[in-house]
């Protein structure tokens, strides 16, 4: 039975469980839900939950584990000499799997009958071609040992699948009956259901953690590879960033890190005051109408594609700055692309991150706080600065951190606005670049993908990850320290 069918059956069981469970619980309470411990719907959900959750969990685990078990047992039975020169067991196994899958697909599409598929032999038919015709690619021709293994694989798999189907449906039924058996008036259905909901919440929270794990895993191997090719010391403490194709690149990350910091700082110096003042104005001073219009308008700033900002930096802001700070003006600036250009434009993009979130948080501060302050003869601005903002601080810090994060992660504006020069300089009118920009450029560049010049992207990603982690930990402690809770 295909997995989708099993899912449909489980779903049907859940619906049935809900209806029957609810009914039975009500019946046990003499039809009056006031005698029930929990609301009737909780009882229904309870039965549905027990019918489905364990079964789905089993199904999921089984689907992941079965192929592993089968391939290891097939691999074990593989004759030692059967692996040809220059190949490896894992490669052969992936061929085995592909052949096995291919035969299944062929049967499904009617290219082979089930018996034919079970009895094909390596010599008789050109399997590679026949599988090819149903869209299954094989890395090399199929020899008999692979074919045997594939047949074995198919046999195990179909047995496994049968057992799985029985086990899952059995478990579902057991859960169903168990759930039904508990349908008594005094049964604490709500607690169980809420535990399940809580488990869901935990699961959702753990997705964030899993993402982190995933990111680390998808970066770590290539990072290690990079450090095998390039000395870590030079990477972390090198003052020059000069990749070159012929080898002999200098890949010191400090200039990039400095650029990242510098640009983010300027961006925040623009976005935080503007955003915060805008938020304050919107939530404290603006008429509801103005707020209803201005807030979403500002939010549009967050939605303009960054490439537009990049072009804006390159074509408008850069030349403007040059005309003021360039040779004709103060002579601090050589060209339009500079930290300042990118920082300013990025700051504009980040305004809504600060303004909209802060506005919501400020708006949530209870009116009694304001009344308390105004009643003492404070001006509105004093109230805002000394009472409302401190009360809203944790949320505002969150918004600012989000903006900072966005600044660190931004590429397009940096590429177009700040130039691609990796440089350690204090002058904000110099061109610089950031870690993120370089991750993108090295990753999409032309260097040999196994060379340090390409792999450095992963090391940069990893390092940036660790650094921002550190910054976030610091931020957490600061927020803890200044947190104010109203009421």
């Amino acid at each position: 039975m295909p997995v989708s069918w099993i899912m449909i059956i489980l779903f049907a069981l859940a619906v049935l469980g809900y209806v029957l469970g609810r009914r039975r619980a009500l019946a046990s309470a003499g039809g009056d839900m006031r005698n029930l411990h929990s609301l009737p719907s909780y009882y229904g959900s309870h039965v549905a939950l027990f019918a489905v959750a364990p079964a789905v969990a089993l199904l999921a685990i089984w689907l992941v584990v079965q192929p592993m078990v089968i391939s290891s047992s097939v691999a074990r039975s593989f004759p030692d000499g059967a692996i040809s020169e220059g190949s490896s067991l894992s490669l052969v196994m992936s061929d085995v799997k592909r052949v096995a899958d291919g035969l299944n697909v062929a049967v499904e599409r009617g290219a082979l009958s089930a018996e034919e598929a079970g009895s094909v032999s390596a010599g008789a038919t050109n399997i590679r071609e026949r599988l090819g015709s149903v869209g299954v690619a094989l890395g090399s021709d199929v020899d008999s040992s692979v074919l045997d293994a594939a047949q074995k694989y198919r046999a195990y798999a179909s047995t496994g699948h049968l057992i799985m189907t029985l086990a899952v449906l059995g478990l579902a039924l057991t859960g169903f009956i168990y759930g039904m058996a508990q349908m008594r008036a005094e049964f604490r259905a709500r607690n169980i259901v809420e535990h399940a909901v809580k488990a869901l919440l935990v699961f959702a929270a753990s997705i964030a953690v899993l993402t982190t794990v995933g990111i680390i895993f998808s970066l770590i191997f290539n990072t290690i590879e990079f450090f095998k090719l390039y000395p870590a010391r030079d990477f972390f403490f090198g003052l020059t960033w000069a990749p070159s194709f012929g080898g002999g690149s200098e890949l010191g990350m400090l200039p990039l890190l400095w650029g990242t910091l510098y640009i983010s700082l300027i961006a925040l110096a623009v976005a935080v005051p503007i955003g915060l003042f805008a938020a304050i104005y919107l939530s404290e001073y603006a008429s509801p109408k103005m707020r209803a219009i201005a807030k979403p308008l500002l939010e549009v700033l967050a939605g303009i594609p960054t490439i537009v900002y990049g072009l804006f930096a390159l074509l408008t802001v850069g030349p403007l700055l040059v005309s003021i700070f360039g040779r004709e003006g103060l002579n601090w600036m050589q060209a339009g692309t500079a930290v300042m250009t990118a920082g300013l434009v990025m700051g504009v993009m980040l305004i809504p991150f600060v303004s909209s979130l802060s506005d919501d948080i400020i708006n949530a501060v209870p009116q009694t706080m304001r009344d308390g302050s105004l009643g003492l003869g404070a001006t509105h601005s004093e109230t805002v600065r000394q009472v409302v903002l401190p009360a809203a601080l944790p949320g505002i810090v969150g918004a600012i951190l989000l903006a900072a994060s966005r600044a660190i992660g931004e590429t397009m504006i940096v590429v177009l606005g700040a130039g691609a020069a990796a440089r350690l300089s204090l002058n904000p009118f110099d061109a610089m670049t950031t870690v993120t920009a370089k991750i993108v450029s090295q990753l999409t560049g032309d260097a040999d993908f196994a060379s340090p010049e390409a792999l450095v992207a992963f090391a940069l990603g990893m390092t940036l990850f660790v650094i921002t982690l550190g910054l976030n930990i610091i931020a957490l402690f600061i927020v803890r320290k200044y947190r104010e809770q109203y009421e």
């Binding site: 220059g86 599988l131 691609a420 020069a421 440089r423 990753l443 032309d446 040999d448 993908f449 196994a450």
Partner: protein, 323 residues
């Protein structure tokens, strides 16, 4: 999967997309998907392994490297067909109504951008501020050049065919070697670009270079021939060592700065992915890749040895085996 999946170089992308579009129009196969993302990223995905969830063709603006071939083989991609589709000309262009940048030599570029140059017989840190400082025929304007960033394969070509050449021509190379550098070091030093802001690396694409030149009248930029040909109304191109860039002069080898473009086919997918072989053959057919085909029309320098390429594809001739 019933469509051909192509990924890789953004330089090859325009050509591949022209072919893919025509292929979709003229064949019953669905239009191939051509992703961009860079030669390296494309080859990396190409070498992930065989099977439906991997790509069939990798475009590259350089030849696949030894190490990559090895990595490919380790992942089971052992049979690769290499197809050279033509050449990408690299040109030097400036604002149409900017200063008279009409003729360059490699020496000029080396003098303008090299880190160490020869002045009055001595090797010194590059002191040149204006083009006319070293070549009176060039305009007396600030040096402002926009060259491909170190991520671009074009940069490699620029370094080897222009800077290194210029380094030798101006005698800087000699001065370096006589100054005690090994030949390799000297070569590396020749290809080092000054970092004082006169030369700006462009990590983006030619559109960005164009925008930079738009906003800086004295700027000179490095472009692909195709890009230039589509923007002749805003750019003027300079000759290199007296040769004007054109598909003809590049094909004949007169114009020195160009690089070959390739794509790589996963042989294991031929016969499996419908239309793969047809697409490859269509790509290199005379109608398409020939000197009058739409590719050449768009700026690809068509390969004088296109015939060989066609038979490579037809025979599914993989790399590393003899013809």
């Amino acid at each position: 999967r019933d469509n051909v999946q192509v990924a890789g170089s953004s330089t090859v992308l325009p050509y591949a997309s022209i072919v893919a579009e025509a292929f979709g129009e003229n064949f019953d196969f669905p239009t191939p998907v051509v992703e961009s993302g860079g030669s390296s990223a494309g080859l990396k995905r190409f070498c992930e392994g065989v099977g439906e969830n991997t790509i069939d063709i990798a475009n590259a603006s350089r030849a696949i490297r030894e190490k990559e071939v090895k990595a490919c083989a380790e992942a089971g991609v052992s049979e690769i067909i290499e197809v050279r589709i033509g050449y990408d000309g690299i040109v030097f262009a400036s604002q149409l109504d900017g200063p008279e940048f009409t003729a360059f030599t490699p020496s000029d570029w080396y003098n303008a951008l090299g880190q160490k140059v020869v002045v009055d017989g001595a090797l010194v840190d590059n002191p040149h501020a204006q083009w006319s400082d070293f070549n009176a025929d060039l305009p007396a304007v600030e040096i402002a050049s926009f060259i491909p960033g170190t991520k671009h394969g074009t940069r490699e070509v620029f370094e080897e065919k222009v800077l290194l050449q210029g380094c030798e021509d101006t005698g800087a190379m000699e001065a370096m070697i006589s100054g005690g550098m090994s030949e390799d070091d000297a070569e590396a030093a020749c290809m080092a670009v000054r970092t004082d802001g006169k030369s700006v690396d462009i990590d983006g694409d030619y559109t960005e270079t164009l925008a930079r030149i738009d906003s800086n009248p004295n700027g000179v930029g490095v472009f692909g021939l195709a890009f230039y040909e589509n923007n002749t109304d805003t750019l003027k191109v300079a000759t290199m060592s007296g040769v004007a860039p054109s598909t003809e002069s590049i094909a004949s080898g007169e114009y020195p700065v160009s690089r070959p473009l390739f794509f790589y086919i996963k042989k294991a997918h031929i016969g499996v992915i419908p239309g793969l072989k047809e697409f490859a053959e269509f790509f290199v057919s005379d109608e398409i890749a020939g000197p009058d085909g739409p590719l050449a029309n768009y700026g690809l320098v068509s390969d004088p040895e296109l015939g060989n390429t066609q038979s490579t594809v037809a025979d599914e001739h993989t790399m590393g085996t003899n013809m």
